[in-house]
Symmetry: C2
Subunit: 299 residues, 2 copies
């Protein structure tokens, strides 16, 4: 993939800042109850592409948000993302044993501890969001907390997973699939972009709307590409079980549109996302590179 | 049990206010995803003794806190309590089928939906805590959110459950048992008292300390009585499976101290709780009645 070297440098710097924050602020593995804290750290540290955190920082740059605030938001969103993966991998959900090239949390620590680790990662996200100062105006901070809670809740990520559950072995139409993914994956991606853009100077409402279009298109593109990769790649490359959508007889963009059409659709969404950024002029560079990265990734 | 008729009237009024709030602010059962929202409502509505909400209101009266704020805090704490019961009842944890005289959430809606209902009840608690105005000073509101997140997290309720898990089939000493319960049950009871007392006039620090002693003694007393009831009562009276501590070979106050000593210990804790309230003069009446109610309840 052809990404500017400046972007690579920037993204590796952000990932470093994030990892450092997570390392220091997740409860230490020697604090009681140790096994729970180990499981929490296992689920979060050293894993994933950190796409949501990168989106938080990229959007934050648009409004000159301080990095001290952005890393807290990025870390909190990553906690919610990690908890959802831990719970999603449980035998009573997707029953998956491999994630990010490692055993899943319940394989490593047992199902009960994985359940509790997910639960307490969610609590920790809201602890961080309330204990660090994120904005000079505490009312803005309260609205950031609300945004995160809604994005993770029954009308966001959690609700998307419920729709997914109910649809297994049933055929979904394209609009139904889209509605599900706007919640399941889209809600947290959207929150990452809009929360990052809310903790600095106030964005003019036109720009906020454009950013919102970008976030929606990108959230959907992320999932379309996920579906394509699940069908195209092998388990070793993905670091998680490949081909499981087809095995579970789930409706995906590939099963409904076919692989070529799904790939084309992801390109269209990328175009929409990029066009939504035009209003920002050269300030759009990071967000544009991230969109390219998300759509053209190979794992 | 001999409780002042005024207390009975007050507690039924508070329960009514709470139920009304929950009914209106839990997502309606017709909102997509319906089954998830039904499961959330099933887990929360029309159930339990509402001890934590009553503590929030009783403590709030000490500082003339507005009921509009207290009901949000009480409701949010009750959401966390309900989610912990739903997850605790899952087969991978306690595997229980009866709760509050009804089937447990996973028996009614399946394990995957129960898992998600618990997850999204937790998100909803933090949504409510951030979207309603709880105090004229938003910094106080942020600190209330933090208190709730810590109480529910890996050093509070969730951590207590992890210690409980690790101790099954192992003998605990009395101090270990106490440390576990101060987290598992105590953290949320303590949060209820101290959060209620934080959303009105500022309490003098001496009074805050006394209230904190009261909350600690009461949290422990609650659990000691729970252990005694589990050993003494039948399933029909409790509305949940009786005798399961002994069956799981868990350390309890009854298994360590014996039933009579455990009952005496609960009376001592009640005395400590009541003495801690003396500083408040006649304002202590509700909190005192609640302590009596908790220690002398029969289910």
């Amino acid at each position: 993939m052809n990404l500017p070297s400046d972007f690579k440098h920037w993204s590796s710097e952000i990932c470093h800042i994030l990892e450092d924050f997570l390392q220091h602020h997740l409860p230490g593995p020697h604090i009681v109850p140790q096994k729970l804290h180990e499981a929490m750290r296992f689920a979060v540290l050293d894993g994933g592409k950190r796409i949501r955190p990168l989106l938080v920082f990229a959007a934050g740059e648009l409004v000159n948000a301080p990095r001290e605030a952005l890393v807290v938001i990025a870390g909190s969103i990553e906690l919610l993302h990690a908890y959802s993966l831990v719970h999603d991998d449980l035998p009573i959900m997707d029953n998956d044993t491999l994630r990010r090239g490692k055993p899943t949390c319940h394989v490593q620590y047992g199902e009960a501890h994985a359940l509790l680790a997910g639960d307490t990662l969610q609590s920790l996200a809201f602890q961080w969001m309330s204990e660090f100062s994120l904005h000079p105006d505490p009312l803005v901070q309260l609205s950031l907390i609300r945004q995160l809670a809604v994005a993770g809740g029954s009308r966001g990520m959690g609700g998307g997973q419920a729709i997914d559950l109910e649809s297994t072995n049933g055929l979904m139409s394209l609009p139904e699939l889209e509605a599900m993914h706007l919640k399941k994956t889209g809600a947290l991606i959207r929150a990452a972009v809009l929360m990052g853009a809310s903790c600095g100077e106030t964005l003019p409402s036109f720009e906020y709307r454009q950013l919102s279009h970008y976030a929606n298109a990108l959230g959907l593109a992320f999932q379309v590409v996920d579906d394509v990769l699940d069908a195209e790649m092998d388990t070793a490359t993905l670091g998680k079980t490949a081909g499981k959508d087809a095995a579970a007889n789930k409706s995906t963009y590939v099963s409904i549109m076919g692989r070529v059409q799904a790939r084309n659709f992801s390109e269209e969404l990328l175009k929409t996302a990029r066009e939504s950024l035009e209003a920002f002029g050269p300030r759009r560079n990071r967000l544009e590179s991230l969109a390219n990265f998300i759509v053209n990734r190979r794992s």
